[in-house]
Symmetry: C2
DNA sequence: CCCGTAAACTGAACTGAACTCAGTTGTGGG
DNA sequence: CCCACAACTGAGTTCAGTTCAGTTTACGGG
């Protein structure tokens, strides 16, 4: 498969791209993508609505960019966590921990990703949106495949119970990311709590 | 808490409400809620766009109704599956199985529910929409509480390992429903496969 | 059988948020 | 100083969702 790698556009010193992304993340995360008025994002950044189109082709293009960036980060974290770990069980534990090693700034971004995954299923008419969508989709697949491989390796080595590695990986991922639906930084359940419990769940799911 | 029970409106013999719901489910499930044009639903039912407003106050009201109906069904299935089962482990197994005991017609509806859960988080300005939203939210909580209670009971009786029952319930539910994101009726993985694997995962997650 | 009534429906107009267009501003490199 | 191009703007346009002001259709009671 040809990997359409998206490189972030060069940003001049006056560029408001980062600020737009930050404001969009804040609003999409708080009120949801649909309920967020694009013009409010412009207001918060301190520019006119039309200036947004200097940086993003559309509101959807901005959303897709946010999602792709978060997927890139997630994949990177997984690779870092599991790379060069011969023991599958230890790799799995590290992988789960890495999924919850996020700054407070990343939490709404994970929520946006989780809440808008459906948008990745349907093709977009605009070029740039479609490029972002395909890049995001490929990242999703790479993440799923990476987890599948990890589980398969553990099964092959006899460290994990033998089951359909791919479906099991999807189940695990579903559980791990479902947390972002309800988790709130200043809630009664801490990320450390979640991480510990979920790590244990995942270990139990593969125990031979 | 005051339970705002929503009773389905009386339907005359000429009512197209069911047909509208069916068409909306088909389209929302296939292309997503946003990508679906409300007028296309009207076309498929064979009425003018404005006639839709005889049955639903808005497109969002229709979506919320679809979601509430599916949540009602899910809760009912859970209760039926676990009711009068003294053994927590057997109740848990039945609960998971019940979650995948769905007709092919229900699959897109589960997907819609899963893909649009975020809409339940933000208040709506319209009366009827808000009523449906609150009803749906309460159903979500009731389902979560029912699972939590089941797990807590198992822990209290020593049948399950002792952990935070609520977080564990959310993890389980997250895993169970995440399937509707990717499952397709004529795909290579059958619902029976999923059900069996997930049941096993859940049992492992609570094993003492 | 006709009439009153309410459900079911319609075409035309309206709304508002996303987006386009045709330009203007302003800053850093030559 | 001035040019190039990033950064930006106000005034429109578009279009899906919605409202309005009625018209049609079925049905039960007189």
């Amino acid at each position: 498969m040809k990997t359409a790698k998206i490189t972030e556009p060069d940003e001049g010193p006056r560029s408001k791209r980062k600020a737009i992304l930050a404001a969009a993340i804040k609003n999409f995360g708080k009120n949801g993508y649909d309920a967020t008025k694009w013009s409010v994002v412009a207001d918060q950044v301190g520019i006119g609505q039309t200036a947004l189109y200097h940086y993003f082709e559309s509101k959807a293009h901005c959303l897709l960019t946010i999602m792709r960036l978060e997927l890139q980060r997630s994949l990177e974290m997984f690779v870092k966590a599991t790379d060069g770990r011969p023991d599958p069980m230890e790799a799995l534990r590290e992988a789960v921990r890495s999924a919850y090693t996020v700054s407070e700034r990343d939490v709404p971004q994970m929520r946006i990703l989780q809440n808008n995954l459906a948008i990745l299923a349907v093709p977009r008419s605009s070029k740039k949106e479609e490029a972002e969508r395909l890049a995001a989709r490929e990242l999703v697949h790479r993440i799923e495949d990476a987890w599948t491989e990890l589980l398969q390796r553990g099964m092959d080595e006899g460290a994990f119970a033998h089951r359909d590695a791919h479906t099991l990986a999807l189940n695990m991922l579903g559980m791990i990311v479902s947390v972002w639906r309800w988790y709130r930084p200043r809630g009664s359940v801490t990320l450390a709590n979640v991480s510990e419990l979920t790590e244990d769940c995942c270990v139990r799911m593969v125990a031979p």
